[in-house]
Symmetry: C2
Subunit: 306 residues, 2 copies
């Protein structure tokens, strides 16, 4: 067993597939660390073989939920309550130092140097940069930390209803205490950065090591053309596409064939996804024009019926 581990979390089959691609992406660039996944009951047993073949350890956890529906409805992301389950990672005390990565991240360059960083190191959040984004962070497993986080959840809950609010409340000195705890954006580049500040992406983009597909639309919601390997651009800026394509290259060539048939179609669906009207409209238009091919189940059927 290594002394370090990359850790991720899945509470559904969708995120389970994201996690498979994430783990494969880490193996592809190379690492000396273990790769561990925490899964809740939301992940179906059918995924077990695939998970076991890629991850060093697959650990079942009890799903936690902030239950803070009021605040989660404010941001239209009711699904984020279960991300609190992430705090189970502090119980992995068999490791000295770990790096947590959300299952919607993709590693494109080696990042083992992160294990040299101290707890809690992270990249700032682009919504409120005095807070850190909890999609990628360095931590030191410790049962006391886990217990204190759980206590904080019970007494104060999370200000944003997800793990990010809770972790920022607990590690509240992140912004002020030590410059070394603020990681460069290259370790958690929000996939939107390529169009919000394109000149910076053009100048610094080559340094990026981890892409984080933030927001409600994940790579597995895109459509993939089996014939030519192209990702169909829907409403997203075309600059975003190369990152989605990197994800699909791994999924299509290294993951999909090892999945049970009834799971491989999850990517490409829009199941349970609340999209805004403009996105719906644009996707529907492209679908009607016949320009979209996709993997698995017809992802636009629901839109048409509703």
């Amino acid at each position: 067993m290594a002394k370090n581990a990359f850790v991720t979390l899945a509470t559904s089959d969708e995120y389970g597939i994201g996690a498979l691609v994430l783990a494969q992406s880490i193996r592809n660039v190379g690492t000396n660390a273990d790769i561990v996944i925490l899964i809740s009951n939301g992940v179906s047993p059918k995924l077990a073989d695939s998970l076991n073949s890629i991850f060093t350890k697959v650990i079942k956890i009890n799903e936690l939920n902030s239950g803070n529906t009021e605040i989660l409805n404010l941001i239209n992301r009711p699904e984020l309550g279960v991300t609190i389950s992430k705090i189970h990672c502090w119980k992995l005390t068999e490791y000295e130092k770990c790096v947590f990565l959300d299952a919607d991240c993709l590693v494109i360059k080696p990042i083992d140097e992160l294990f040299e960083k101290m707890e809690l190191s992270a990249v700032c959040d682009l919504g409120w940069p005095d807070c850190f984004n909890s999609g990628v962070f360095v931590f030191k497993p410790n049962h006391q930390t886990f217990n204190e986080l759980l206590d904080l959840l019970k007494t104060e809950n999370s200000f944003d209803g997800g793990d990010q609010g809770l972790l920022n409340q607990y590690f509240s000195d992140w912004f002020d205490s030590d410059i070394a705890k603020r990681l460069s954006f290259i370790y958690n580049m929000h996939s939107t950065a390529s169009y919000t500040y394109l000149p910076a992406f053009k100048k610094f983009g080559e340094r990026v090591k981890v892409i984080h597909f933030l927001g409600a639309i994940k790579p597995w919601h895109y459509s993939y053309n089996k014939e030519n390997g192209e990702i169909t651009s829907t409403y997203m800026a075309t600059h975003h596409m190369p990152h989605v394509r990197l994800w699909w290259n791994i999924f299509a060539h290294q993951i999909k064939d090892n999945l049970p048939n009834d799971l491989s179609g999850i990517a490409g669906q829009l199941k349970n996804l609340e999209m805004n009207l403009e996105e719906n409209y644009n996707r529907k238009k492209q679908w009607e024009s016949g320009n979209i091919d996709y993997l698995g189940v017809d992802c636009f059927e629901n839109i048409q019926k509703n």
Copy 2:
């Protein structure tokens, strides 16, 4: 003369009016510092009386321009080339320490404590947070710095075509060198933060001292109802509105009556504004429904004709 100054820049009458509101907002919260504006030929002489009545000094400068149209077109903001003129602020060596504020900022709490900060202190940019946002920064006037910035502009130009790219190239150690140089978001809160991460805004919003109206749509592009003092929400999230209302309260009650008649109508117009189609469409719809009243010239006439 004070030893410190707040400094801003206007290269057009629109930004001149923004600067008047900014300066008034600083006077309203109180300061011991001077308030200085740099103006180019783009500001018409008619604004002179108003500027002289609010600013401690009005200083004419030669407009600089990055001329980097290729990269400016990439971000659809061709007007940003002249923001390079900002570097003239380093020539204000009669002051020991200064704070630069873009003319689309609004100060809502005293910020004289910023003069204790070192050069170059700033808030991270939300597009690429390893860079600082150049809308608010602490600097130390110095002719040598000005000359070096000018040389850098000539030799390397600015990576984003505006002042922010150039300043980040020059002060390239901002991210790594000293934690004290990274200012809290409360000193340059992008007005969009209230809807991109609403829970954080709800938790930390009361601490905010400076609001920065980033993006192509400025407060003076909104419509104002003379009868009831209400700002008409167009395409923007309603959470944004209270900030725009703060701006208009100052403009309508402390600035407008002192402006020459043919200038007071600038706010409320959409002159020279490139809006995207969705915004155009939403505004036009609201206008047609009769729900919008506005100050000054009919801001929707051009849209209808085109």
